[in-house]
């Protein structure tokens, strides 16, 4: 029994290729002069920072405290008061490897200003 039919392999390969292209496209799209924003559920900017400057920020979210560590042009959520800590597990984000960090319990997300 074959693992997948030929057209299925083509679809999966196509999806993989498209996703890879999108990642590469986003990589070049993010200019490193933009600010990084922390936005809440009401779309208000609670904090904006320049990732080139190392810093440690403490914010108050809907559930508890939300900490952001900025180091060597990268940023991450750390020591967050929430039940699942998924935002911490998202790891480091940067201009080159941009991932919006989302903390649902605290209703905060960390994005690049576009």
């Amino acid at each position: 029994m074959t693992l997948m039919k030929k057209r299925e392999i083509l679809i999966i390969a196509g999806l993989f290729f498209l996703a890879l292209m999108a990642i590469i496209f986003f990589h070049f799209l993010n200019e490193d002069n933009k600010q990084v924003l922390v936005v809440n559920k009401e779309h208000e900017v609670v904090l904006s920072f320049d990732p080139k400057e190392d810093a440690y920020y403490t914010l108050s979210g809907a559930y508890g405290e939300f900490h952001i560590e900025v180091k060597d042009g990268r940023w991450r959520a750390t020591q967050v008061d929430c039940p699942n800590h998924n935002c911490e597990k998202m790891g480091w984000s940067s201009y080159a490897m941009y991932v919006p960090i989302i903390c649902l319990p605290n209703e905060l997300w960390v994005i690049i200003d576009d």
Binding site: E8, I12, A19, F26, H43, V99, P100, W109
Partner: protein, 162 residues
């Protein structure tokens, strides 16, 4: 097969799915970007192959309701995100089955649709499209997790005797 036996097996599958879901969320850390392996999808694949899509929808609905009830997050934001993910993955599996797709392909597409469903709900709830940035890496991770669930489901289907 009698109706009683049919429903008993379905509920046992649902109970298994609930157990796997809770054990995974408690003991297995998420992979990159907060994505999980989604081991409970193994039960969806097995149910689909054994009893068809209606049974799969029933098992998944019980799984989402009971697992979230036990986790204490029923009808909260996380519940709706998870529920939409499961609904989309079930829908994908149903169409793949209808079109005679292989189990491996169905599992991968279902994993992608699961991630897409969750992202759509998050974007809708928070009224922001920024989260769609996550879609490309999630697609790549979903192909991987979909393949893992396929391998396990296939091994189970080869051995299962009902």
């Amino acid at each position: 097969m009698t109706k009683t036996r049919y429903y008993t097996i379905l509920m046992m599958l649902a109970a298994l799915a609930v157990c796997i879901n809770i054990v995974e969320s408690l003991f297995l850390p998420p992979l990159q970007f907060g994505i999980r392996l989604g081991l409970a999808n193994i039960i969806s694949l097995i149910t689909l192959k054994l009893y068809g899509s209606k049974a799969m929808f029933a098992v998944c609905a019980v799984r989402v309701l009971v697992a979230n009830l036990l986790k204490g997050i029923i009808f909260g934001t996380s519940f709706w995100i998870g529920a939409m993910g499961v609904f989309m993955s079930c829908l994908a599996l149903t169409f793949c089955e209808k079109w005679g797709s292989s189990l491996c392909f169905s599992s991968m597409i279902s994993a992608i649709m699961h991630s897409l469903g969750q992202l759509l709900v998050i974007s809708f709830l928070y009224g922001a499209l920024d989260f769609l940035w996550l879609l490309p890496p999630l697609i790549i991770m979903s192909l991987f997790t979909g393949f893992i669930t396929y391998v396990i489901a296939k091994k189970v289907l080869e051995r299962i005797r009902l």
